[in-house]
Amino acid sequence: MKKYFDNLTEALQNFLIEVGELSYFAGRFFKEFWKPPYEFKELLRQCFYIGNRSLLLVSVTGFIIGLVFTLQSRPTLQEFGAVSWMASMVSVSIIREIGPIITALICAGRIGSGIGAELGSMKVTEQIDAMEVSGTNPFKYLVITRILATTLMLPLLVIVGDFIAIYGSFLVENIKGNVSFTLYFNQVFNILEYSDIVPATIKTFFFGFAIGLVGCYKGYNCKKGTAGVGKAANAAVVYTSMLLFIIDFVAVFVTNIFYDL
């Protein structure tokens, strides 16, 4: 019993240390973010790299989600004679929740683990030390640029993913129900309100920030050895996924307060 209690205490202690260190890391980001020199070139490179690296995966996943979601919902809506509500239901679900969270989870796997592994490998091969020795602040050059890039690129990826998912849904409706493009997208835009789009877009910035932050934190503090790199990449995905759900919960809670949905 005592051993069980000790293990639990140790696990809790480690968790709190981790949360503390991650918060310190985030604090350092906000402290150093304002200070020159500004690494614009590296930021642009990272934006291109992160956006480009995830675009195909986000598009394909979005398309399939739209397709499957519509195919699965259609029989149920048909039972109630509510197939004409399909566009409205799909668009609200995708814009508010499914699009942002699925895209963020995909990017956590794709980008977060990539950043964790890249920085982890740079750490264990002393490239980060070499950067510091050459008079470059590695935190500014590697961490701030990556966190900013994920924060800026995730909302764009979500917009693309959402649009493609709705397009996928339209294709099913077009094939099964002979609904035209104009009619379907008219219904989509008629039902959508600012209260659907604005909070959903704002939370994607937080999602992007979390992906970049945890990936960089895990990579930058990677322990020595190749096993450390693997652990950093893996932990980046696990921690980010958990954090994304927490952020999502908070975002929905806050949105409900403001918009009384």
């Binding site: 002393e126 030390d129 008079g135 602040n137």
Partner: protein, 248 residues
Amino acid sequence: MTTPTKKAIITIKDLHKQFGSNVVLNGFDLELFEGENLVVMGKSGSGKSVMIKCVIGLEQPNSGSILVMNQKINKLEQEALDELRTEIGFLFQGSALYDSMSVRENLEFPLRRHTKKFGVIEDTTPLVMEALESVGLAHAIDLMPNELSGGMKRRIALARTLILKPKIILYDEPTTGLDPITSKEIVLLMNSIQKQYNTSSIIITHDVDCAKVIANRMILLIDGVNYIEGTFDELASSTDPKVQAFFK
């Protein structure tokens, strides 16, 4: 080798460093004179690398003082430290080339960041080529690090160090992991660089052959202190079993 003067360029006094309960340096002293090649030998894990990382400010000592070119390294503001670092080259054990950049970009990287020392350089190619030629690898300018052999990586890392024309070079086990022939080439290259650029160097190694060729003076780091100092011949002829263990 050029003859060293008696003007100290690095002075370490009573350096202490420990990681948790593991005491690594326990009152280490060192003086590096201008134009000198000082070899520091010691067993693996004896704190040699930690010591030179303290010199460049990558590790913070628990106590003791480190003077580099008359500046206390652990009291410097970040900007002053970065400026001082342009005068100190550091050759990492694993070369530490940025693997997402080509050889040219690896060499340009420090150059573009030290505009105070060099001004804004529009065309970096002549300086990059000069550094690459001094290590005999001008043809590798557009290669990526993963296309280079271990010896080539070490040379390119040396070229990246040289591009800032440092007064001091710190070598962290420059021949580790290389075959004997390539090791010899690297040692000869280090010697020729010392002549060409008139640098002062601290060389961390446990390669006795390397030490024999390059050392003006040697220090054995044992139990966290400088156990013995002298020329290679003096140390090699020592009857102390702890010293002899390195030369057998």
